[in-house]
């Protein structure tokens, strides 16, 4: 009877797999379920069914997953093979503990295999394989307040869509997966201790298997950072841990656990990005500074007078230690001695707080740490970092609610002031410049409040109930979180970018249409009509070449995308420089009249046979160069917008601009109708001027965001946030002054050009009828320019 049930169990599992198709995640899921079914069967003493489930799980593994994993990581499959064998033996003998350990190890082994396949696929720029296998992964445990990130998923999608290089996707995926599995390792070790405390050996065994498996996933990173001997030793500690659980040896278990903790101390598998390191450095400096402040408030004459303050001092010390642990390996490379000294001092600081040392001693230690940090931390990590300031403000605000619940309003008030001081010393200035209404909102919530929410200062001085304080804190936290988003987001409103892209495309397209029309109109005679076609072919080729240029330029930008806003600032500066030149040329006529005259001169040379190339090829080249120049300019301008708002938004603007160009083109070429081209050129010129001013404002904003330019808010000037998003207008002296300079340059250039033209006209008026053919006014469907 038992054999029959076992057969059914195996058959059911296998047929489910076949029915559900072959996806690595699905097969791994079936293996996990089958092994759990095996554990359940053992709980009822049904060894035979338990063994059947293990066999079924192994069959799925061998049928679908083993080969692709072995191709990239043979050592992982060797280990999995052994573990399946151990699981089968355990199931047959009714050994619940070993079966559970094996189950944990098998699951982690499959994750290890999947990680390997994904990373190798990315090394070969194979996004499709990476995407399929990435579905087989673990995630950080979510809470009500935090969710797992999606860096790896988004990076692979970006690779597939051609928005990111394989190397960048690989780096992002590796960081995400290593970070996840390190978090899982930490969590399983905590679960292990809980299971030990509750005396649940089966659960303990499974968690130990998982922990050992997670460590294996991180082993390459561990080996790279700590060396092969350390890796060997830590693996041996994990083996010892599993052995201790199997043999129920508590003392050996404790030793192995401590060894593992020591081995993992300061280890970070996924290196932090430069921005994250700067953020941690900011937290570290702030937290260290706060420890003596809190401590001094909680101690009098060597006795604790306020326990909450001491707890807060310890919280900040622990926050500082955590931030330091994240930076330790980077700092060690800069100065090992100083880094070790800081580690010792941080530990001393904790001891001093716990042993009620003299506040002056605590302050000295904190000062010494700060001094050492100032020397060892790179200068760019020590500059104002909004991200870390928001983190620290949040930590300080955490003190308010518990203090109020205990009726300690003075304590809550000091925390409020502390949080406000951090805000005032950095973030507020940025906010006043970039999002003044948000600065006002945050400040009012710290103090008097507004129509809807009473401010924290009022609530704390009137000993308001905890529920009101909580509501006010929630509003403040929401405002702070919105402020963080606003400061982190130096992007323009999408509709504004659509408009700007459309203006640029329409303007450049209009020029292209006019050049084509002008060249074609001058070939109206029957003899010359044959030459129109090559020019148009050249134009069409230029259009295609512009598309290729877009593709190349975009690829180049995407390969540099890791530089983020710094890249945006550089590209914007180049775009502004060219826009300034063009507006200047435009007003001085060299841009338009001279350019057109140049084309006509070239055309005459080609037709006159004075150029080396034949007339057809020459005219194709003429059509091509005259249009490609506009296409090239357009592509260049649009790249800075792509960095600002993304490719899709810019393409929407391109589409709108092309509609305009298509209409003008259709009217000009197909219907042969005259249009007020000169007025159109002037109108679009003015619009380009507005685009230029917006671009200047946004570029200054980006440069301020990356710290390349100081921020000096204009007191008393209120500019709503939307005007920043639409027109690049922000209430900082730097932004407004540079926009004014750009405006003066453009208008000044126009005035100068008008003055020069006026003078020129006055001089040349008597000899007008003797103009040379190369500079004759351009005729476009009867319109003279």
């Amino acid at each position: 009877m038992l054999s029959f049930l076992a057969l059914i169990a195996m058959f059911t599992t296998l047929s489910r797999v076949q029915a559900e198709g072959s996806d690595p995640w699905n097969e791994a899921d079936q293996i996990r379920t089958a092994l759990f079914a095996s554990q359940k069967a053992l709980l009822t003493g049904d060894n035979e069914t338990a063994a059947a489930h293990v066999r079924a799980a192994e069959a799925i593994y061998r049928q679908s997953l083993r080969q692709p994993i072995a191709a990239t990581q043979p050592d992982v499959t060797t280990s999995l093979d052994k573990t399946f064998a151990a699981a089968l033996k355990a199931a047959q003998s009714g050994d619940q503990v070993t079966l559970s350990t094996s189950r944990g190890q098998i699951w982690a082994g499959l994750l290890h295999g999947s990680t390997g396949v994904v990373l190798v696929a990315l090394e070969q720029a194979d996004g499709a394989t990476a995407r399929t296998w990435l579905l087989l992964r673990d995630f950080r445990t979510p809470t009500r307040f935090s969710r797992p990130g999606a860096d790896a998923t988004l990076a692979i999608n970006a690779l597939i869509e051609g928005k990111r290089s394989a190397a960048e996707a690989l780096a992002a995926v590796r960081a995400d997966l290593l970070d996840t599995y390190q978090a899982q390792l930490t969590e399983t070790l905590t679960d292990l201790d809980i299971a030990q405390k509750r005396n649940f050996p089966v659960r303990q065994a499974e968690v130990a298997g998982l922990a050992a498996g997670y460590f294996d996933i991180l082993s390459d990173a561990y080996k790279a950072q700590r060396g092969p001997e350390a890796l060997l030793s830590t693996r041996s500690s994990f083996a010892g841990l599993i052995q201790a659980i199997t043999t129920k040896n508590t003392s050996t278990y404790e030793i192995a656990r401590k060894q593992i903790d020591a081995a993992l101390k300061g280890f970070r598998a996924a290196p932090l990005s430069e921005a994250e390191q700067a953020r941690r450095a900011g937290q570290l400096l702030r937290f260290v500074g706060l420890v003596p402040v809190e401590y001094a408030r909680g101690i009098r004459d060597g006795k604790v007078v306020n326990d909450i303050e001491i707890q807060e001092a310890l919280t900040f010390q622990s926050g500082a230690s955590a931030a330091f642990a994240d930076l330790m390996s980077s700092l060690e490379k800069r100065d090992t001695e100083a880094t070790n000294r800081i580690a010792t001092l941080l530990s001393q600081l904790e001891t001093q707080v716990r042993t009620t040392a003299d506040p002056a001693v605590v302050e000295n230690t904190a000062n010494e740490i700060t001094g050492a940090l100032n020397k060892v931390l790179p200068a760019e990590w020590q500059t104002l970092n909004s991200g870390s300031d928001f983190d620290v403000i949040s930590s300080v605000l955490d003190q308010i609610e518990p203090a109020v619940k205990q009726g300690q309003y003075a304590l809550a008030e000091s925390a409020r002031l502390e949080a406000y001081a951090i805000l005032d010393s950095g973030i507020e200035q940025k906010l006043r410049g970039f999002a003044p209404e948000m600065a006002l909102r945050v400040e009012s919530l710290f103090w008097q409040g507004d129509d809807q929410v009473t401010g924290l200062a009022i609530l704390l001085t009137t000993n308001a109930p905890a529920s009101q304080v909580k509501a006010s804190l929630t509003a403040l936290r929401t405002a702070l979180s919105e402020a963080e988003v606003l400061l982190g987001n130096s992007k323009s409103a999408p509709a504004a970018v659509v408009g700007n892209a459309a203006v640029i495309v329409f303007r450049e397209g209009l020029e292209a249409v006019l050049i084509l029309a002008s060249l074609l109109a001058s070939l109206r005679t029957v003899d010359n009509r044959q030459f129109r076609r090559p020019i148009l072919i050249g134009g069409a080729l230029a259009f295609a070449a512009s598309a290729v240029t877009w593709w190349v330029a975009n690829g180049l930008l995407m390969s540099l995308i890791r530089y983020g806003e710094k890249l945006e600032a550089v590209v914007s500066l180049i775009a502004i420089a060219i826009l300034l030149l063009i507006t200047n040329w435009f007003f001085h006529k060299t841009y338009w009249t001279g350019w057109m005259a140049n084309f006509h001169a070239k055309k005459s040379k080609i037709l006159g046979g004075s150029l080396v190339v034949g007339p057809s090829l020459g005219l194709i080249l003429l059509g091509f160069t005259s249009i490609y120049r506009e296409g090239f300019e357009t592509v260049l301008f649009l790249q800075s917008l792509v960095l600002d708002a993304g490719i899709v938004v810019v393409l929407e603007g391109v589409a709108v601009g092309l509609v305009g160009v298509a209409i003008v083109g259709a009217i000009t070429f197909a219907l042969q109708v005259r249009l007020p081209y000169k007025k159109m050129l002037i109108a679009t010129g003015i619009l380009i001027g507005i685009v230029l001013l917006t671009m200047v404002g946004n570029t200054v904003h980006v440069m301020q965001a990356v710290g390349w330019m100081p921020i000096t808010p204009i007191k008393g000037l209120y500019i709503p946030y939307w005007m920043g998003q639409w027109f690049g207008l922000f209430a900082t002296w730097q932004g407004i002054v540079l926009q004014l300079v750009a405006a003066v340059f453009v208008i000044g250039s126009y005035v100068l050009a008008e003055w020069m033209n006026h003078r020129k006209r006055a001089k040349t008026l008597p000899s007008k009828e003797h103009q040379s053919p190369g500079t004759e006014p351009v005729q476009v469907s009867g319109v003279t320019h």
Binding site: N26, F139, R140, P142, V202, S467, G509, R533, A662
Partner: protein
């Protein structure tokens, strides 16, 4: 001939322009977020909140009736038990039956109520709030105010079945006449019971109104999923601590009448409805992920349903078994939440804090 070819070439140039325009417009339209049809989620929610409101009004009628009986006996519960035994048993059994109806009905809606920011407060008041941490008070008929009393379902359960002695009359009651006082055979304090009944009816009505006013958005749906799916560990934790696992050794008085496994199953069915609403959106960006999430939710619900069936069939789980099963459920829930977070990011959907 020459003019014709020039005209044709000009047309080709225009066609090229228009084709590019159409292509880019098409791309941008494709990139626009598809408007999901979330009406199914609202229909489901209203079905539950209306049923909850109806059941809560019925419960209020019964707690009122019990209060009138106690009042007539001048709140002398021994006298009440002796003089009106049949009436007391009838009204209390009816009240318990109402509770047994509305509690699971609410659980079926909890996945949405607790996950949607604009409705969350009702979850705290009705089902999830802890004593001293809720933001409401109850004024009893005798004028006494119970400040921050905890959640109403818990208060009703512990009062009706007597797992919290604070609101129980000191009377030995034997409802079924078997000669002993079995679990749940208690006379609640009528003042407290009426206060809880009134508040439950009032908040159930408010929830129903708020649910009717609620217009579901994709952000609401995804937020509900990522907030509620990972809370499985909390539910399994309360299952492990309940009478169903610990028997008389259980220290907590709630979750003693309906197994937490039943609640988990109900919550998951609600969440499946929510996911069904956004599934087409997910499939539009990642078909494999959509299959994975749908299957994951279905597997998790079936997994819990299987445990519940075993429990109903008489299986007594040990604390270690409960831990094992709970951990497995949590692992499944963590995986599903991770997957949902991935598609939310792909779809650029903002999740509420």
């Amino acid at each position: 001939m020459g003019d014709m070819s020039v005209g044709r070439t000009a047309r080709i140039v225009i066609i090229l322009l228009v084709a590019t325009m159409m292509l880019t417009t098409g791309l941008s339209v494709r990139a626009q977020e598809a408007k999901p049809d979330l009406s199914g989620i609202k229909t489901y929610l209203l079905e539950k909140t209306e049923a909850l409101n109806k059941g809560a009004q019925s419960l209020k009628k019964n707690t009122d009736a019990y209060y009138e009986l106690a009042k007539a006996a001048k709140f002398d519960y021994a006298a009440l038990w002796n003089s009106k035994k049949a009436d007391v048993i009838k009204v209390l059994e009816a009240t318990k039956a109402d509770w047994m109806t509305i509690s699971p009905t609410y659980e079926q809606a909890e996945g949405i109520v607790a996950g949607v920011p604009s409705l969350q407060k009702y979850d705290v008041i009705l089902d999830a709030g802890v004593k001293d941490e809720v933001e409401y008070d109850i004024t009893l008929p005798d004028g006494k105010v119970l400040a921050k009393p905890g959640n109403l379902f818990g208060l009703l359960e512990t009062t009706l079945w007597g797992t919290d002695k604070a609101f129980i009359a000191d009377v030995k009651a034997d409802f079924d006449g078997n000669g002993k006082q079995d679990f749940g055979e208690v006379l609640p304090d009528a003042n407290a019971l009426k206060g809880f009944g009134d508040s439950t009816a009032s908040y159930a009505e408010e929830l129903d109104k708020s649910a009717k006013a609620w217009e579901p958005t994709a952000s609401d749906a995804f937020t509900a999923l990522v907030v509620m799916v990972p809370t499985m560990s909390e539910y399994f934790e309360s299952w492990k601590e309940s009478r169903f696992i610990l028997g008389d050794k259980a220290e907590r008085g709630d979750f003693a009448v309906i197994s937490r496994l039943s609640d988990i199953q109900d919550i998951l069915s609600g969440l499946q409805v929510v996911y069904k609403g956004v599934s087409p959106m997910v499939a539009s960006v990642d078909t494999a992920r959509d299959t994975q999430i749908s299957k994951g939710l279905d597997d998790l619900r079936k997994y819990v349903a299987d445990l519940y069936k075993q429990e109903k069939d008489g299986k007594k789980f040990t604390p270690e078994e409960a831990e094992l099963f709970g951990s497995e459920a949590q692992a499944k829930a963590t995986a599903i939440t991770g997957q949902i977070s991935q598609v939310a990011a792909q779809l650029k959907i903002k999740l509420a804090e």
